[in-house]
Structure formats: structure tokens, C-alpha cells
């Protein structure tokens, strides 16, 4: 059975001129990059833009990645910085709820789509009330299903702190979503 190429191997192949190797890295870490960008920006469309920019920047600067085996951590730092820069430049301080016009445009969409959009907007609003680190960890754990070991390695915090943040984030989110808090 063929084994998945390691990050290190894919980085080396990209540096040797094989762009397809980088496409595998993009596919592998797209969701993690989106989760981190969303944790900071709060808007899925903005998160998508910033994650794309981060990958392009990572490609251009790949030769400076000193530890190719830790490509994921390196990439997520780029996503983090770019997200913060975007946040500062647009003065976004809060998560914006889904635009009413978008909902209106979808008025002919199936009811399930509308319910999903509504739930999404509620989740985004609740996530906006969490600390950025809690947002990121709950997204990585409950959307990406990453282990605490992996989250700790990617975010640079301890496994213990990852568990604590996740627990606090879930409690707070539950309270926000059920309306048992302010």
C-alpha cells in the first residue's frame, strides 16, 4: 500500500520545482488554515481569502522554512499573522452576522439551506464572544477533529492548556447558544 508523502518530502519536491507537490500540501492543510483564519477573522469568506494568500506567501517563502517536517506549524503562523493584519487593516473588531441581503438572495433556496445559514450565523456570533485562542482550539477540535497533541504542536501551547481552553470554550459556547448567559 502506498504511503502518504511526508511534509518534508513534499517541501523538498516543491523546492526542486515540482509544483504538484505543493498542491498536496495545500489540500492537506487547507482546513486547518481556514480554521485558524476563521478563528481570528470570524468571517468565512475573509478566512478563505486570507488562507489562500497565506498559502501563496508560504510557497514564495518556502526556502526559508527551516524545519520542513514542521511545515504545518510554520504555515499556521503565516495564516495567523496575515489574519491579524487583515483584521487591523479593515478595523474588524467583531464578527459580522451574515448579511441580510445574502439571506434575501437565497429566499428561493431550500428551507434547509436557510436553516443552515441561520445556524451558521448563530455559531459565528457565539464564536465571536470567545477569546481568539479558544475559538481556534474549538474549531480545530470540533470541526477538524484534531487531537490535543496535534493542536498543541500547531499552536505552540501545551496539551494541558489546549484541554483547558477547549473545555472553557465549549462551556461558553453552550451557554451562548442556549441563551443561558448574557
Amino acid at each position: 500500500m502506498a504511503t502518504e508523502p511526508s511534509d518534508e518530502d513534499l517541501v523538498q519536491r516543491t523546492l526542486a520545482g515540482e509544483q504538484d507537490a505543493f498542491a498536496i500540501l495545500v489540500r492537506r492543510y487547507r482546513r486547518a488554515a481556514l480554521a485558524r483564519a476563521l478563528a481570528i477573522l470570524g468571517d468565512p469568506a475573509d478566512a478563505d481569502d486570507i488562507a489562500q494568500e497565506a498559502f501563496v506567501h508560504a510557497y514564495e517563502q518556502l526556502a526559508t522554512c527551516r524545519r520542513p517536517e514542521r511545515f504545518a506549524s510554520w504555515l499556521l503562523i503565516i495564516v495567523h499573522r496575515r489574519s491579524l493584519n487583515a483584521l487591523r487593516s479593515t478595523k474588524r473588531r467583531r464578527l459580522a452576522p451574515l448579511d441580510d441581503t445574502i439571506i434575501a438572495e437565497r429566499s428561493d433556496a431550500p428551507m434547509r439551506e436557510l436553516e443552515r445559514a441561520d445556524l451558521r450565523s448563530q455559531l459565528l456570533a457565539a464564536l465571536a464572544r470567545l477569546a481568539p485562542v479558544q475559538r481556534e482550539i474549538v474549531l480545530l477540535a470540533d470541526v477538524e477533529h484534531w487531537s490535543h497533541d496535534r493542536i498543541a504542536a500547531a499552536t505552540g501551547i501545551s496539551v494541558l492548556m489546549s484541554r483547558r481552553h477547549l473545555s472553557d470554550a465549549r462551556k461558553r459556547l453552550r451557554a451562548l447558544l442556549t441563551g443561558t448567559t448574557d
Binding site: A16, A23, V26, F55, Y59, A63, L139
Partner: protein, 104 residues
């Protein structure tokens, strides 16, 4: 339970099945639009040469040393007779005569 995972599937970026391909395609299109900072080597054996270079160097040194040793050994070996006269033990003064001269 308080610590159970929260259902965040509404935030799943792959709710749209084509989202992954669209994202990867967009990134790679932007990458392709820029000058390639990592051009592929024109030498298809680029990787092989880098691995084989030390081996080839060591092999060439061994060949040179072996050549020198063999040359020395062959020059040190006793020389056999060059002519029939020499092999028969004809004294040297008779062997130096030219073909047209006869011993009277």
C-alpha cells in the same frame, strides 16, 4: 455532558463538496501566475548525480591507486629472454654481431 464536542458542522468548510477543489485550484492558479522561484533542474539526473558523485569520486581514486600499484608490480618482475640466443645462453659478445657479419 459539558465537555462533549459541539456540533459545528454548519461551519464545516466542506459543506460544499467542490470547495476543496476550488480552493486548491485558486491557490495553484495564483502560484502559477507568479515567476517560479524554484525552477526544475534541466538535468533529469540532477538528483542521481548528487547521490552518485561521492561514490564516483571514491571509485576513481581506487582505480588510480590500483593502476599505480599494478604498474609498479609489472616493472619489478624479472625480465624473460628477449631472443632465442639469449635463451640458449649464447655469450653476449657473439650476440652483438650484426646480421651481415660472420664469425670466422
Amino acid at each position: 455532558m459539558q465537555d462533549d464536542p459541539i456540533d459545528l458542522t454548519a461551519l464545516d468548510p466542506d459543506a460544499d463538496p467542490s470547495a476543496e477543489d476550488r480552493f486548491v485550484g485558486a491557490v495553484m492558479a495564483r502560484v502559477a501566475a507568479k515567476p517560479n522561484p524554484y525552477p526544475m533542474s534541466a538535468d533529469v539526473l540532477w538528483g542521481a548525480w548528487s547521490v552518485a558523485r561521492p561514490v564516483l569520486l571514491a571509485a576513481s581514486i581506487v582505480i588510480v591507486i590500483a593502476g599505480v600499484v599494478l604498474t609498479r608490480e609489472s616493472s619489478a618482475e624479472p625480465r624473460g629472454p628477449l631472443t632465442v640466443a639469449e635463451s640458449l645462453g649464447v655469450p653476449m659478445e657473439f650476440r652483438t654481431l650484426g646480421a651481415g657479419e660472420r664469425v670466422r
